[in-house]
């Protein structure tokens, strides 16, 4: 009886802590990535962006995404990869007009992805 109760508490505690950590981790990762993207967006809009700014954003994302693979379906991460590589490609050829919509898509994803894993009625159903 005590062993069963202990196993219930332990399992519940484990699930609760993993869930809380995942929620916090995903949220903070995307918040910091959003900040980096906003800087890139502002620079692109002002025409002051360089290819190195793009690759720096790429490196930042590469660094973050390694841990995100534990928490998120890999298809969501691949979608960000795809949009980011396209945006950086546009910066390489100095096509800022094409880069801006792609960065906007990435900014939208930074908001939507953590939201789709948040504890809410519509996500449960």
């Amino acid at each position: 009886m005590i062993r069963t109760l202990a196993s219930i508490l332990l399992t519940f505690g484990l699930i609760f802590s993993v869930s809380a950590y995942e929620s916090k981790r995903v949220q903070t990762t995307f918040e910091s990535f959003e900040q980096v993207l906003l800087t890139l967006y502002d620079k692109t809009e002002a025409g002051e962006v360089t290819y190195e700014d793009g690759t720096a954003t790429e490196r930042f994302w590469e660094n973050k995404k390694n841990t995100l693979h534990i928490w998120l379906p890999h298809s969501a991460i691949l979608e960000i990869d795809y949009q980011l590589y396209e945006a950086v490609g546009c910066l390489y050829v100095r096509d800022y007009d094409s880069a801006i919509p792609k960065i906007e898509i990435l900014l939208g994803m930074c908001k939507n992805i953590p939201q789709s894993y948040r504890f809410s009625f519509e996500n449960i159903l």
Binding site: T4, I8, T11, V18, S19, I70, P73, H74, N123
Partner: protein, 228 residues
């Protein structure tokens, strides 16, 4: 992960409810919640294993949730008997001293032929050879025979009427027609075929007749010799 936890709990409860509603027919030597766990856990383990795009943690959290629910049900079973009847169900006495209890059969989505089959598997061929028969909560079948049950089943009984429906193959086998049987039914005070729950006859002419909502009757047809 919190989502996975809640979704697993919902799926578990929904599957358990469906299993309980399906009755004992769908179970088989497992408590309903054990069957639900068996059904769900195989998929939970397989999906993250086979699909590389899903983090392994998704499967692990769901499996641990199932384990948690299992442990909670165990605790409830041991300490609160009423929860056991809600989660696992209670045994259903489908045959008693008055004969077959068709309301209990219906509750478990079973019919008279299922009961006769279960009795045969247990080694009881005549319905009147058994004092009590019940389906346990996990779907297994138990029967308590009468003390002289061996004398009561000297020949194999066959079904002539099953829940108001003729078994024409068996009628041909005993070389009698419907009018002959209807005549017997009328003599026993049964005016409508629909009111017959079950009627069997064995090779010696011993008839087991039960009308719906009434106690069973056993009588002999007075055949000159045994037919089989």
């Amino acid at each position: 992960m919190g989502l996975i936890f809640i979704r697993t709990v919902i799926i578990f409860i929904a599957t358990l409810i469906v299993m309980r509603l399906m009755g004992k027919r769908q179970i088989g030597e497992m408590q309903p919640y054990e069957l639900v766990i068996t059904l769900i856990i195989a998929d939970l383990a397989c999906i993250p294993m086979a699909d590389n795009s899903i983090p392994l943690l998704y499967g692990l959290i769901a499996i641990f949730t199932i384990y948690l629910l299992h442990q909670i049900i165990c605790i409830l079973d041991l300490n609160f008997p009423w929860t056991k009847s809600v989660v696992s169900g209670i045994p259903s006495i489908v045959l008693n001293k008055n004969g077959i209890d068709d309301s209990q059969l219906k509750k478990n989505n079973l019919d008279v032929s299922d009961l006769i089959e279960s009795l045969r598997v247990e080694g009881y061929f005549a319905l009147d050879a058994v004092e009590y028969a019940l389906y346990e909560s996990e779907g297994t079948f138990s029967a308590l025979p009468k003390s002289n049950y061996q004398q009561l089943q000297t020949s194999l009984p066959i079904v002539l009427i099953d829940e108001g429906k003729w078994d024409d193959e068996n009628l041909k086998y005993i070389q009698k027609d419907r009018a002959y049987i209807m005549d017997i039914l009328k003599k026993q005070g049964c005016q409508k075929l629909k009111s017959v729950l079950v009627m069997t006859v064995d090779g010696n002419g011993k008839v087991y007749l039960q009308q719906k909502g009434e106690k069973y009757k056993v009588f002999y047809l007075g055949w000159e010799s045994a037919l089989w």
